[in-house]
Symmetry: C3
Subunit: 142 residues, 3 copies
Amino acid sequence: MDTLKVFHTTIRKETRGNGHTIDLTSELQAAVRESGIQNGTVTLFVIGSTAGLTTMEFEPGLVSDLQRAFEAIAPTGASYAHEARWGDDNGHAHVRASLLGPSLTIPVVQGQATLGTWQQVVLIDFDTRPRQRQVVIQMMGQ
Amino acid sequence: MDTLKVFHTTIRKETRGNGHTIDLTSELQAAVRESGIQNGTVTLFVIGSTAGLTTMEFEPGLVSDLQRAFEAIAPTGASYAHEARWGDDNGHAHVRASLLGPSLTIPVVQGQATLGTWQQVVLIDFDTRPRQRQVVIQMMGQ
Amino acid sequence: MDTLKVFHTTIRKETRGNGHTIDLTSELQAAVRESGIQNGTVTLFVIGSTAGLTTMEFEPGLVSDLQRAFEAIAPTGASYAHEARWGDDNGHAHVRASLLGPSLTIPVVQGQATLGTWQQVVLIDFDTRPRQRQVVIQMMGQ
């Protein structure tokens, strides 16, 4: 039973697109530490419709394995109505981003996001060109 | 450091089922505005096991591209144990909904959900018939 | 306008791995009840990188239908860079877990998580061996 603390910050990343996968864990845990929140939640949200967030064991083998699964679900070379309509080349990027989802919420307990040792928070940029991405971090609790 | 505000509302939608995709963004932003919450989070949750929520650039090309990806992952005409057991015809709808997920949480900063310009919140109804859907909106913050 | 309540608990489950799907709904609703929170949110988060959370109508037909979809997306017998690099056999488990996601947030209204009647919260363990899993439950509200 305490008053509410709410703090937000934005992590900015230059990506290479094309499935570039970036580990946000240390910046996330630093933001939680700086907030002083001991118990609550942290929500991450990537702005835009061609990138997504998830957790994974962040090692190069799994980064490429996950890309291969996305290639099976929404192939790069397939025909997309989005591309026919707008002259774009990133239909697969939009589909992959919508399937993965833009947000994650993680409990904060004893001042830390409750990730496993081999579980990192990652941003995946599916777009077909380098992008500047913003991931909004919203921390709430006491 | 302020007292907590919690407000909920429910968005009700008549859908056509069969992948009907509905943009909830303007109703979501209106609910956030009416709550008066300046900093916090908004959680959306669709009740039921044959619909899901995500974000996308809401344009007809991508709506059909996303449906095509779901058709590849869980085809309409395939054989489902759910259908064999219960005499239903919507096994693919259940599988798609579980893969997409029922919930989204978005930061609220300066009185607005932090969506991108080309990023809309959508409800996708995978069921095989028209449905009345309820999306619960829960806003928390200060 | 009230002071904030934050309560967390951890649900521990022994799983058989290999897609073992466990209904957490009654433990979740009991935790929400015990918290005394009437309006707010409950966040579930599974620790680890080879398990995920979603909602579904929990019946054996759909449990197997969902596994079949995951088998199509990330087949058990395929070649994974993760396995080549680390001598592991669970590349498919990692890929499936990252696609499904580790977290869910559900509104709490009138002291209950707003699930549908045929909508259960499930833990799916994709790993290739029995595991002891921890699902952190974080409840916030008033």
